[in-house]
C-alpha cells in the first residue's frame, strides 16, 4: 500500500492505495465519488471520463498512483458553486440529453473538455470528439444537440430524430 495525494474538485485528498488501484476505484471506493461510472472497464465506453490536470482521461485506464499531485475534476465538481447545474448539465436536462443516465457523467466531462478547447464546435466535431463515449440507449442525437446548445448555438431547427 502506498499513499497518494491529489486535488479532487478543488479539495486536497489523500488515501492508501494498492499499486493496481485504478483512479476510478480510488474516486468511487475511497472518496465515495460514485458519479464517475465504470461501464465497460475496458476503456472503450467513456462513462468514467474525468479531467486530470485539465484534460479528459478514462479513469478506468489510469492508475491512482499516476494521479499523484494532479488536479482531478469529476462530475461532482461540475455544478456551480451555489449547487445549481452548470451550463452543460442544464443543456443536457433541457434537451433530453440523457435517457438511462449511465453514460451521462462521461458525456458531460467529455463535452466540457471539448468546449474548453473548441468553444463553438460543429455537429461533426462534436460527434468526432465523442468517439470514445458510448451511449447504450443510443441517445446521441440529443446529446449532440445539448452540447451545441451549451455552446450557445441555436438548436431550435434541429428536429428530434
Amino acid at each position: 500500500m502506498t499513499q497518494v495525494s491529489m486535488t479532487v474538485n478543488g479539495k486536497a485528498v489523500s488515501g492508501e492505495v494498492e499499486g493496481r488501484t485504478l483512479l476510478s476505484g480510488f474516486l468511487r471506493d475511497s472518496l465515495n465519488l460514485t458519479g464517475t461510472h465504470v461501464g465497460c472497464d475496458t476503456s472503450q465506453c467513456g462513462a468514467c471520463v474525468v479531467h486530470v490536470d485539465g484534460v479528459a482521461v478514462k479513469a478506468c485506464a489510469m492508475l491512482a498512483g499516476e494521479a499523484e499531485g494532479a488536479e482531478v475534476t469529476t462530475i461532482e465538481g461540475m455544478a456551480k458553486p451555489d449547487g445549481s447545474l452548470s451550463t452543460i448539465q442544464q443543456a443536457f436536462q433541457d434537451h433530453h440529453g440523457l435517457q438511462c443516465g449511465f453514460c451521462t457523467p462521461g458525456m458531460v466531462m467529455s463535452a466540457a473538455a471539448l468546449l474548453q478547447d473548441n468553444p463553438n464546435p460543429s455537429e461533426t466535431e462534436i460527434r468526432e470528439y465523442l468517439e470514445g463515449n458510448i451511449c447504450r440507449c443510443t441517445g446521441y442525437h440529443n446529446i449532440v444537440k445539448a452540447i451545441m446548445a451549451a455552446a450557445g448555438q441555436d438548436v431550435s431547427k434541429i428536429a428530434a430524430e
Binding site: 494498492e18 493496481r20 472497464d41 475496458t42 476503456s43 484534460v55 499516476e66 473538455a113
Partner: protein, 262 residues
C-alpha cells in the same frame, strides 16, 4: 489485475534502475497495458511509470530540422505541437479517441508494436530514429515482427526523431469496432526516394511495400502503382477482413495517401 508494486521515478536514470529489478515492466500511458493487466495477460512484479519523467516529454525541432518527440509525449501533444510534420500530427490526432490520446504515448506505442497501431507506420515510413537510454536505433532495424522490437529488457525509448519529408500522408481504414487500423498506409516522399509503410495488414506487423516505393520514387502519383498488386500471403485474416481484402486495401490506401500527400 494481479497485484504489483508501483513506482513513479522522475528521471530516466531512476527508471532504468527500477526496471532492473526482476519482472519489472515499464508503463507508458497505459492505454494498452492497463487493459492487458486487467485481462491478467501480464503479471509484472513492479510497474515502473514513465509518466513522471519531465525530460521525456515534449516536441522540439532538432539541428537538422527533424521533429524530436520525447518518449513519454502524449498523442494529443504530438497532434497539437508537431505542426512541422503535418502528416505526423494528423496521424496522432486520429489515434483512439480524445481521452486515449491524452494518456497514450509515442514511446508506449512503439515499444508495444501492435500490428494495427498507427505510430509504427509513421516511424517506419519516415525511417525515424528510435533513441533509447542505451543507443540510437533506425526504424528499419527496430521493428522485428508483431509485438516484437529491437528493445532489450529494461530499455526505454526516451525520444523519437522524425526527418521531415517533402510530402507525406497517412490513410487509415478503421476497423469499425475498435477504430484501430484495419489497414493503414503511411507514404513519405523524401529527396532521396519514397517510403511506404503498411500497418494493420501483416502477421509480421508493420512493414514496407518496396514495389510501391520504387514505382513512386520514379513517379509520385497514384497512377504509378495502378499496375502493382499485393500478395495476400502472410496477411491477417479475421472476421473484419480476409487477407485478400486487406491486400486490396493496402493498394487503395496507398493510392489515397499519395493523392492526399501535401
Amino acid at each position: 489485475m494481479y497485484a504489483f508494486e508501483f513506482e513513479r521515478p522522475t528521471t530516466v536514470d531512476d527508471a532504468v534502475k527500477a526496471l532492473a529489478s526482476e519482472d519489472a515492466q515499464a508503463l507508458g500511458g497505459g492505454q494498452t497495458l492497463i487493459p492487458t493487466l486487467k485481462q491478467r495477460l501480464a503479471a509484472p512484479e513492479t510497474l515502473v511509470s514513465l509518466g513522471g519523467i519531465a525530460e521525456m516529454k515534449g516536441v522540439c525541432i532538432g539541428d537538422s530540422g527533424e521533429v524530436c518527440i520525447g518518449g513519454a509525449t502524449s498523442h494529443a501533444t504530438v497532434a497539437a505541437e508537431a505542426g512541422q510534420y503535418p502528416a505526423l500530427a494528423e496521424l496522432a490526432a486520429h489515434i483512439g479517441d480524445p481521452a486515449v490520446r491524452n494518456r497514450g504515448t509515442i514511446g508506449g506505442s512503439l515499444a508495444n508494436n501492435d500490428p494495427s497501431a498507427c505510430y509504427p507506420a509513421a516511424a517506419l515510413g519516415s525511417n525515424a530514429t528510435i533513441i533509447t537510454n542505451k543507443r540510437d536505433i533506425a526504424a528499419d532495424d527496430y521493428f522485428q515482427g508483431m509485438f516484437t522490437t529491437a528493445l532489450e529488457e529494461g530499455e526505454i525509448i526516451t525520444e523519437v526523431r522524425f526527418p521531415v519529408p517533402e510530402k507525406a500522408n497517412y490513410q487509415k481504414f478503421v476497423q469499425p469496432a475498435s477504430r484501430f487500423a484495419l489497414v493503414g498506409v503511411f507514404v513519405a516522399k523524401y529527396s532521396d526516394g519514397v517510403r511506404v509503410a503498411v500497418t494493420g495488414a501483416s502477421e509480421e506487423g508493420v512493414h514496407r511495400w518496396s514495389e510501391a516505393e520504387e514505382a513512386l520514387s520514379a513517379d509520385f502519383s497514384a497512377d504509378a502503382i495502378s499496375g502493382l498488386s499485393v500478395p495476400a500471403d502472410g496477411l491477417i485474416g479475421d472476421l473484419h477482413g480476409t487477407p485478400e481484402y486487406r491486400a486490396h486495401l493496402v493498394k487503395v490506401m496507398t493510392g489515397r495517401a499519395v493523392t492526399a500527400s501535401a
